[in-house]
Point group: C2
């Protein structure tokens, strides 16, 4: 990644449905790594070398040829990693922000794509029931921290893993997880699962892949469910780790299901209705890690893959 200065034309030609945005916050999300190489069947097109990368962000509309948006609107959705962007929105790529009574940056996280990912992944894919045991990897990340709290609200026993003592402490003290552990300090993941889940795992919210998934598989309960949200441990590898314990899918009758949030954006209004009061009433905790300035964006994104961020990684471009 390199920072480039150039001039772009900031207008929306008449008759086009182009929208001109001033970017305020950019979102660093693990899936973006998969757009930097050709991963067989990735869900997004690869980035175009020489052009600004694209991703989720919060922005202000400067001009609009699309009747759904007008000058001055605040929006979130797919934009460019640049100060100003010219986009052609669709129904599932740009959303008007109605509630401004919360930090705007939240629309890159709890109120945006990662929030919806947690909501859909947990409620729609995991088929959770009160009292079930839930394990979440990358649990202090943008998605994990929310999934854990949703599971607690439903009366589940919730354990998360993360990669530092600070994060593990947050999981227990701030997000209300029943237990949490630092996966980097567990040389035997299987033993860790036997310790925290002596009777097995009903639900695994998969953010990590590889060895973690292998260790989880043998610790699942009968009729368990695995919602496959991401596999961050694999994105930087030339050759992905092989998963050896898939035979457990049969013996334990496990359902393992991948999903992508943008199949489910029709449920976004329903999600906001649920989550905004919780935020305002202080019933849900949310932590973000904000880098300042476009020049710090590449570093912030790269940091996700060594777990440098604590909570949702955001880049502030401009305070309106």
């Amino acid at each position: 990644m390199e920072l480039k200065n150039s001039t772009i034309k900031l207008d929306a030609p008449k008759g086009s449905n182009v929208v001109v945005l001033k970017n305020l916050y950019l979102s660093c999300d693990p899936y973006m790594r998969t757009r930097m190489k050709k991963i067989e069947g990735s869900y997004f097109d690869s980035f175009t070398a020489g052009s600004p990368i694209t991703g989720y962000g919060v922005a202000k509309v400067l001009e609009s040829g699309d009747s759904n948006f007008e000058k001055g609107d605040l929006v979130w959705g797919l934009t460019g990693w640049e100060e100003y962007s010219v986009v052609t929105p669709t129904q599932s790529t740009l959303f008007k922000i109605h509630d401004k009574d919360v930090p705007l940056s939240y629309y890159t996280g709890i109120l945006g794509m990662p929030g919806m990912t947690a909501y859909i992944g947990f409620y729609e894919i995991c088929s959770p029931k009160m009292g079930e045991t839930v394990y979440i990897s990358a649990a202090s990340g943008a998605v994990g921290q929310l999934v854990g709290q949703f599971a607690k609200m439903l009366g589940c026993y919730v354990v998360g893993s993360a990669g530092s003592k600070e994060k593990v402490d947050l999981l227990k003290s701030k997000f209300g997880f029943d237990e949490a552990f630092n996966y980097k300090e567990e040389h035997d993941l299987d033993a860790a699962f036997k310790r925290y889940f002596p009777d097995g795992i009903d639900i695994y919210f998969e953010n990590v892949g590889g060895k973690m998934l292998d260790a989880v598989l043998v610790n699942m309960k009968l009729h368990g469910r695995i919602a496959v949200c991401g596999m961050i441990s694999q994105y930087n590898l030339e050759t992905t780790e092989g998963v050896h314990n898939l035979f457990c899918l049969i013996t334990k009758r496990i359902r393992m299901e991948g999903f992508i949030v943008f199949d489910h954006y029709h449920l976004y209004p329903k999600y906001l209705e649920m989550i905004i009061p919780q935020i305002k009433d202080g019933k849900i905790a949310y932590i973000e890690d904000v880098a300042e300035g476009l020049e710090n964006a590449p570093n912030a994104l790269v940091g996700l893959f060594s777990g440098r961020n604590v909570g949702k990684q955001v880049v502030m471009i401009s305070r309106e």
Copy 2:
């Protein structure tokens, strides 16, 4: 395995619910291999060294302490690999045979556990729709040959793989598959799938595991389903092959689900109602490979793992 001569007491003590069986046919099924070692989380207990192995079979009741069975009944279910067995049946381990107007050996296959496996796996787990594309590995086996015919009945496009020219020919000429290939002759499985499924696979009925699964994953369609029935290629390995392409579960929103037939035996009467008329009307084809005599049973079982059998492998012990 060794053949042993010994004497057993063939009576059903009063007040017990023991049933004494004369075994007629024994069923050779791939899952039995997993009972010969400690596979993490196998669905059956391991075999007991020094005792006769157990498995599905067809038998005649000689004596019964269980009011559900009486002397002279023909039954199928879990029995021993021996001439006579003494069993304590439960509702899902021993079934009375009502329709004797079909070959009795069919109750080890199309009318027994493998038939129910095909029925449940295809209709309950795959969520099939007319016109979808279906791939079946180990397609000429006891389960595969039925799944393919069920899929054709529903108007699906069906491709199967097997390990010899003879089996491939059977798949097309006898079982009505649209296409079939010999996986041993495809050095590039991915290319084979691109050839037979240019637009991808909606449903994969998984009997094989390992490299086969990896190649299928990248060739699945969006929202595809994988019913995980077995992984025969892995049972004889010290270390299972790693599966590398699970990231496709996300990008293609795939549901991958393991199942075991014995969770579903309550649907057996419904299955018989469907399948028996089809057999009698010649609308469904079924091939079995019958070995004669208990002394040939070990060899017949071992043959499954090199694909020596053509169709369902049965061992005839006695013709009543």
